[in-house]
């Protein structure tokens, strides 16, 4: 029983990371109907930037903040430069551009920072060395989950209670009408990309102390996040977050008791295929109706 509890808590901790990346994916999907294949590599790159800043002597949280801002700007620039012209192109073209981005960011990480596996510092480990809550949770897991939840809450409040958040939701929901009431739709889409890149950067920095940093760090994580986003409903941010947590728990429990750790990624594949076949809208998503 204690084992199950431990797996459950660990699942929730990694689930928080999946939830963040899932949220980033949903933010972009809602705005442009693109599945951002480069999300993981972009987050990895951001994490390397953070490591460089920390190694240059900056305090952790200042490096953290600078990285988030830099990632936001990068996201905005990428949307403006590369994806805007593809907004009306067929899916193959946008998938191609996103895959191109994936390759470029992956190479940049390796090129600039090397392929060796690196450790990434955690701001929480210094406070308590041993496990909390009866040994079930490490200080980092607890701290990372707290940061994740705070971020998710912040994003939620932003979308719900700010004028900018409302404008972004409107631009995603109905671009034509939004434009008519004076919302700069293009700017909102770019802002959405920036936000997604920033969320991804936070997720990268929080998971790096656990899985260690190398250019392919986010590959598997991206897949779980996709699974989580689909499970919750890819057009529903709250659903995607819950889906991310659920996938974290399923992955840990499934890995420990059902399929074994070797087939964990296959589990993500099964969740993706299962959701798309049984309930393509996800648990909380709206069923999609297309007028023809």
């Amino acid at each position: 029983m204690a084992g199950v509890l431990h797996q459950l808590v660990a699942g929730l901790a990694t689930g928080g990371i999946y939830a963040s990346v899932a949220l980033a994916l949903v933010t972009i999907y809602r705005a442009t109907h693109h599945v951002n294949f480069a999300q993981g590599e972009m987050a990895t790159f951001s994490t390397y930037v953070a490591l460089t800043l920390i190694e240059a002597g900056l305090p952790y949280w200042i490096a953290f903040a600078l990285t988030v801002i830099a990632s936001f700007v990068t996201g905005v620039v990428i949307e403006r430069l590369l994806l805007r012209p593809m907004a009306r192109a067929p899916a193959l073209s946008s998938v191609g551009v996103l895959i191109g981005l994936l390759l470029i960011f992956n190479s940049l990480s390796g090129w600039l920072f090397g392929y060796a596996i690196k450790t990434f510092p955690s701001p929480f480990e210094a406070t308590t060395a041993k496990g909390l809550l009866g040994g079930y949770v490490s200080a980092h897991e607890l701290g990372a989950t707290a940061v994740t939840l705070a971020m998710l809450l912040g994003v939620f409040l932003f979308f719900r209670h700010t004028k900018l958040g409302l404008a972004m939701r409107a631009a995603a929901y109905n671009p034509a009408s939004s434009r008519l009431v004076g919302i700069r739709v293009g700017r909102m889409l770019a802002f959405g990309w920036g936000l997604a890149a920033a969320i991804g950067a936070v997720a990268g920095m929080l998971i790096a102390p656990v899985v260690f940093l190398d250019p392919t760090m986010m590959g598997g994580i991206l897949l779980y996040a996709f699974a989580g986003a689909l499970l919750g409903g890819i057009d529903n941010p709250l659903g995607a977050v819950l889906g991310g947590f659920a996938v974290g728990v399923i992955e840990n429990l499934g890995g420990a008791y059902v399929v074994g750790t070797e087939l964990k990624l296959t589990l993500a594949l099964l969740i993706i295929v299962g959701v798309l076949l049984v309930r393509p809208a996800g648990l909380f998503g709206r069923a999609l109706v297309t007028r023809v």
């Binding site: 599945v35 899916a91 390759l103 992956n106 070797e262 594949l269 993706i272």
Partner: protein
């Protein structure tokens, strides 16, 4: 007629010339390029012609390679006899994956097939299959030599063998794409609903295309395994699928010549770029991918054809716009979800 024969003669000369001009090692690389071209040809059919984006064709390549390796190592089947088996297995797997793929379009299908590519090495490493797949260690194969005591080095023979396998498959796709089925595939790609209304059996054609595409890519995997004489789970990382995708776009998504150009690009550009940095090939692939999508959406083959058309007085054949610009979003405020 005479022009056709001349072209055939010229083509054969170009294909056979490396036998006399190149070293064994370079021929070995060319053999791999042929395998890659075949793999891209399979992708050509499903992504280029039918419009189903696959980022997971490396998985079929891996399955083909493993079928050949297992048959050769465990059952002493001669290398050439493994190809039909690998074709059948891959066609069945392709059909099985084509079934759920029926319900997915655009980015969703790309995502699902990508998940397959990511999961593939893990499945191959799985301990329950270790007896068959050799686990992480993989399988080492014997070198395939020339038959009938031909005075050829094995690498030279394998180059010929790969050519002989690839030629009929290229012919198959060429004819498929230009016949009745090719028209049906174009209709499905450009307007599935209208195609269905015209009486095209969407499900049958899509799953059928997936099966044939997987079959071709699987045979490519078999050729690759025979040439490399080794298979292991990490020979087939998710990046393999992405490289095939890069080759598809760079060459030209609906062109048989494009499959060859794309394969040569994927095969030989890294060799050159590698001298700059370990990261350079990936960066170059990425840049090439984006540049091609923006600058020549019909790929290198399309650009070449346009450049050569005035010289050769080729009929343009009304080649439909590939890549970008095909389908526009509906103006009436309806939203297409890919």
């Amino acid at each position: 007629m005479i022009a056709g024969r001349a072209a055939l003669l010229a083509g054969t000369t170009v294909l056979l010339a490396p036998l006399f001009l190149f070293t064994d090692y370079h021929l070995f690389e060319l053999t791999l390029a042929i395998a890659t071209a075949l793999a891209i040809l399979g992708l050509n059919l499903v992504t280029g012609h039918t419009g189903q984006i696959s980022l997971g064709h490396g998985a079929f390549y891996a399955i083909g390679a493993y079928v050949t390796a297992i048959l050769m190592a465990d059952y002493d089947v001669p290398y050439w006899a493994t190809l039909p088996a690998s074709a059948v297995v891959c066609a069945v797997v392709g059909f099985a994956i084509g079934l759920p793929a029926l319900r997915l379009r655009g980015h969703y299908l790309a995502l699902t097939t990508f998940a397959l590519a990511v999961a593939m090495p893990q499945i191959l490493k799985y301990r329950g299959l270790e007896g068959l797949t050799g686990g992480v260690q993989g399988i080492v194969l014997a070198k395939a030599g020339p038959p009938f005591g031909l005075a050829l080095t094995p690498d030279r023979w394998l180059y010929l063998f790969a050519l002989a396998v690839a030629a009929p498959l290229f012919l198959l796709v060429y004819n498929l794409a230009r016949g009745r089925i090719g028209l049906a595939m174009a209709a499905i790609r450009d307007h599935p609903l209208a195609a269905e209304a015209m009486g095209i059996d969407l499900a049958r054609l899509k799953t059928g295309t997936f099966a044939i595409s997987a079959l071709i890519t699987g045979i490519a995997g078999s050729l690759g395994a025979i040439a490399v004489q080794f298979v292991a789970p990490d020979s087939f990382p998710p990046l393999l699928s992405i490289f095939l995708f890069v080759g598809l776009i760079v060459g030209g998504i609906r062109s048989e010549a494009g499959a060859v150009i794309g394969a040569l690009f994927v095969q030989f550009v890294p060799d050159l770029a590698d001298q700059v940095s370990k990261a350079a090939p990936g960066a170059l692939y990425g840049l090439a991918l984006i540049a091609v999508l923006y600058l020549m959406p019909q790929g290198a083959a399309g650009a070449l054809r346009r450049a050569l058309a005035p010289l050769l007085h080729l009929r343009s054949g009304g080649a439909p716009a590939a890549g970008t610009g095909g389908r526009r979003a509906n103006p009436g405020g309806t939203r297409h979800v890919e």
